[in-house]
Symmetry: C2
Subunit: 364 residues, 2 copies
Amino acid sequence: MELTLDNVFNFSAGPAALPKPVMKQAQADFIDWNGLGTSVMEISHRSKEFIQVADESEQDLRDLLNIPDNYKVLFCQGGARAQFAAVPLNLLGDATKATYIDAGYWAESAVTEASKYCEIDVFNAKTSIDGKAAVVPAKDWKIDPEAAYVHFCPNETIDGIEISELPQTDKPIVADMSSNILSRKIDVSQYGVIYAGAQKNIGPAGICIAIVRDDLLELANDVLPSILNYKVLAEKDSMFNTPPTYAWYLSGLVFKWLKAQGGVEAMELVNKEKAALLYDAIDSSAFYKNDVHTANRSRMNVPFQLAKPELDGKFLELADAAGLKSLKGHRAVGGMRASLYNAMSLEGVQALVSFMKDFEEKYA
Amino acid sequence: MELTLDNVFNFSAGPAALPKPVMKQAQADFIDWNGLGTSVMEISHRSKEFIQVADESEQDLRDLLNIPDNYKVLFCQGGARAQFAAVPLNLLGDATKATYIDAGYWAESAVTEASKYCEIDVFNAKTSIDGKAAVVPAKDWKIDPEAAYVHFCPNETIDGIEISELPQTDKPIVADMSSNILSRKIDVSQYGVIYAGAQKNIGPAGICIAIVRDDLLELANDVLPSILNYKVLAEKDSMFNTPPTYAWYLSGLVFKWLKAQGGVEAMELVNKEKAALLYDAIDSSAFYKNDVHTANRSRMNVPFQLAKPELDGKFLELADAAGLKSLKGHRAVGGMRASLYNAMSLEGVQALVSFMKDFEEKYA
């Protein structure tokens, strides 16, 4: 089979593949956008043309997630790691404590940063069922009565774990949805703050969405740099400073593409199908394995191991040659990882599963 | 004359035009970069391919500015406004005071943010000579003996003022070079920190360079978010979190283009010629005027007014139709502004001057 751009499939965990139609459109419009004779990245963020990009992208995101009117949508810089500091500095108010649910690497990274600003009550939600990694049910999560908010990360990219439950609390719930936003239906009204670095399900690296409930805008700490201050960003329509305009524009194209696909409901169906296809291939083979309990397997990030780890290099080399890119597992866990964000087509997962079967037949 | 992409000239103050050869190359490589079958924005920042982009861009910048080995080059997020907070939070150490030289809008914006973190000793360097805006000579700038550092902004985009002198002090000098970095020769060893948002002379909005002298890395305040911590960024080679990879890549292409043009020395010659051409056209006409004294006129941003301000709209409309884009002055001052960053060709300034003469003949 000859490799063309149409049968190269990129399983990168992030920065991840963007939808191919979006990339083709962006390429066509790269130098001469909207007939302006310049790129969209070469015009003022305060021009009427860019304001239209900004307004439409916000409205499209509101439509996709059905975001209630009492939530602000902010386009931030600094990625989710900036939010790790922004969340306590924006939300603590007079409180000195917050509860963090720990189910993996990213939840723990958020704890490390937030610990600089307050006492962190960590609830260890990691457990195992039948020798497989799993998450304690949400009804058993213990939340400190003095906590200003409860933070959790519903999809752990490295551990390959996804949580479909919510903390059961009347405190503001803060979710790091960097790796599963827009991949499944959520009820935004259940959250205080949702944030998500763009580079998995939204757009290129360098922009980060924060969806913030209005009543939480008044709590910011004095030492918070303005660039991370939700209230400042909200008052300035995310243009307190020059925003990353090109990343914002590309994110807007992705939102329009998602709407054209049928929105989040449609994506969720495809995402379920993609994940089922790959997990079934793994489970039905003695050569491949995944160490996460079925109840908590991520639809977005599927880590898997070979029965013969000495073949990892061979697997990756042949996969790459077959147009199946970036399947190497995270350096902390090794093995393989296939990330199946919205931009990954069912066809791509079918190609991967087919390759895995061939590889097993030849090398198992 | 028929308009083509080659005779459209974009005078935007920022986000500003990028060099046309850079944009053409980026467009050609947009979807299939280096034969990978994916875009450079769709690969891991930790891949060997991206690390090469990062390493080369740093080395090219070091070559262009002749950056000494005892300086770190950091690729940051959040723009210069993030640095307005990062500077005091990184540099104050045990001190409680810093001196800021005020010669315009951006210096004052830096003061506003820094005031959250310490006492700011502002030296008002604004003056006038023969009724024209000017800057007090650096030998007369008063610097507080207790200041941890001295901050100044050597080019004010809105006021159209440029300062070619340095504060005379043994304290670390911090310069916001967002709008004139790489446009003229500088001696980096004279500075403690140089920072610059990319969107004028470096690349697209969304990335910000900080050049930091090694000995200043140890002073960071405990409440500083890690994402703004120079030491953390230095230790992680600017990959503490996922960097804005596409903006970084484009910045790297600009650095290579600058080297191909002959480097900063060659750009400075062209920049002098471009500025002289435009200021001469203004000064030799009774219809156009610029309110900055010749000693402090910016080579990068040339604000000018018409003798009949009621013609501003007509001027902008006809200029736009002639392919001379984004000449509208900043909303704070009105009139016109032509930004002549490195990517603006001499040919573009010649086209503007020619248009201005035609306009004056018809409408003066």
